[in-house]
């Protein structure tokens, strides 16, 4: 028997894969408070594949053939080499015919690419046609800022050397509108003015007055080391690094009003058995006498007499000076005169030799010297 084979020729199908986006768009916004709009954990987004087929031979009905999709797969990434999304992948759920529901928010810095691939069996030929599509979810940082910064220090902050507490905390209040900016969203930089170059630089461990708090909203300083420093705080919201606000204070050492007097606490009246004369410097302020004045002042005790041209002689330093009673001449016409010279002292300063800080047992040595 002779045979002849008839071949069926099918014109290739026109197959188009679309991705319907249900319940939002591919883009979110994130505001300065870190809130997403929409929040996909509450308002999920569905990506629904749709397959449209057109058969030039009109064997198959033209139109939607989504129900014919097979082997549907989603991947995190831009191709099928990414991480495949399964039912256990957090933030996603898979539905019928390749539908993917996204319950995950996307950070502005990390757009999320999703890759979809699927198959469709041509009913005429039983051959599988593969289609794929990529979508990218993005987030725009929405910056709505009305920032203000205050510190709890006056523009000029007098620092009294007499305060018992050496430490002073300068605390900042950083607001966006009327709302405080959470610490996690704020960046703080405490700076000091370098007087030699008139430039601001970050306060660090090398600054003797610095105790703690760099990078936070509360700077702790040690008053004893402050003569005159301009201190500035710069702050910005993490979402807008270029929107910097600042606040400044000029801290300076200030003794206030004071007056000194010399008292003879022993030997004011020199008798034959008086052996010593004790001179004591007393510092009066509007708030009372300064206790341990040598802690704050440079005090020099001087002796002279009421004779014309009598020399002045330094008899001691500090709060008290004790001299032998013989210093007072036993001439009723010559009076012993005691006096004191008192000068304010600078704050503690780093002691340097040849431009290098002197260290003792690994610690920087500081000195306080009389003011000129």
């Amino acid at each position: 028997m002779k045979t002849a084979t008839a071949y069926i020729i099918n014109t290739p199908l026109s197959v188009s894969l679309y991705m319907d986006i249900i319940g939002g768009g591919l883009e979110q916004t994130k505001n300065a408070d870190g809130l997403f709009d929409p929040d996909r954990t509450l308002f999920p987004l569905a990506l629904r594949p749709r397959l449209a087929v057109k058969d030039p031979d009109h064997v198959l009905a033209d139109g939607d053939h989504t129900t014919g999709l097979i082997d549907t797969r989603w991947y995190i990434g831009t191709d099928d080499k990414g991480t495949r999304i399964t039912e256990s992948t957090s933030g996603f759920s898979l539905g019928a015919y390749g539908e993917l529901t996204v319950r995950r928010n996307v950070e502005p810095s990390s757009p999320l690419s999703l890759y979809f691939t699927c198959g469709y069996i041509d009913p005429r030929t039983q051959k599988t046609i593969r289609k794929s599509q990529q979508v990218t979810l993005t987030t725009v940082q929405n910056v709505e800022l009305n920032l203000s910064l205050e510190i709890d220090a006056a523009q000029k902050m007098a620092i009294s050397p007499f305060k018992n507490q050496a430490l002073r905390t300068i605390t900042a209040t950083f607001r966006n509108g009327s709302d405080p900016v959470p610490d996690a969203k704020a960046v703080y930089s405490w700076q000091v003015l370098e007087r030699a170059t008139l430039t601001w630089r970050a306060i660090g461990a090398d600054d003797p007055f610095y105790v703690s708090g760099q990078g936070t909203k509360a700077l702790v300083i040690d008053r004893r080391y402050i003569d005159r420093e301009a201190i500035r705080l710069e702050a910005h919201h993490k979402s807008a690094p270029s929107r910097v606000v600042s606040a400044m204070t000029k801290a300076y050492r200030y003794y206030g009003q004071w007056d000194e007097r010399e008292m003879l606490t022993r030997g004011k009246f020199v008798r034959h058995d008086t052996r010593e004369i004790e001179a004591r410097a007393v510092i009066d302020t509007p708030r009372g006498q300064v206790t341990r004045p040598e802690d704050y002042f440079d005090i020099t005790h001087i002796f002279t007499t009421n004779e014309k041209g009598a020399p002045e002689k330094v008899i001691g330093y500090g709060e008290k000076a004790v001299v032998g009673a013989g210093i007072a001449v036993r001439d009723p016409n010559v009076l012993a005169v005691f006096g004191c010279e008192v000068r304010e002292r600078t704050a503690l300063r780093v002691c340097t030799i040849g431009g290098r800080a002197v260290q003792v047992n690994g610690k920087v040595m500081c000195i306080s010297i009389p003011k000129p």
Binding site: I22, G24, G25, D33, P38, F43, P44, L45
Partner: protein
Amino acid sequence: MSRPRLFSVPEAIATELNLTELRTHDGAGRVLLSGRDLAIYGIDKALDEGAEELSPDEAKEIFHI
């Protein structure tokens, strides 16, 4: 600072927006939609048809989110 808006809407509105399956229901015929969900529909129109704007705390309480 603008915050994302939340609305409790009658189920009919969510149905019209084809969002009933994707959104949270309170079990009493109302659905939680975002301001963006309603933008297409028209927020004023939705409010006229019984939608209510909610604070985040109210939304948590009503929809147990």
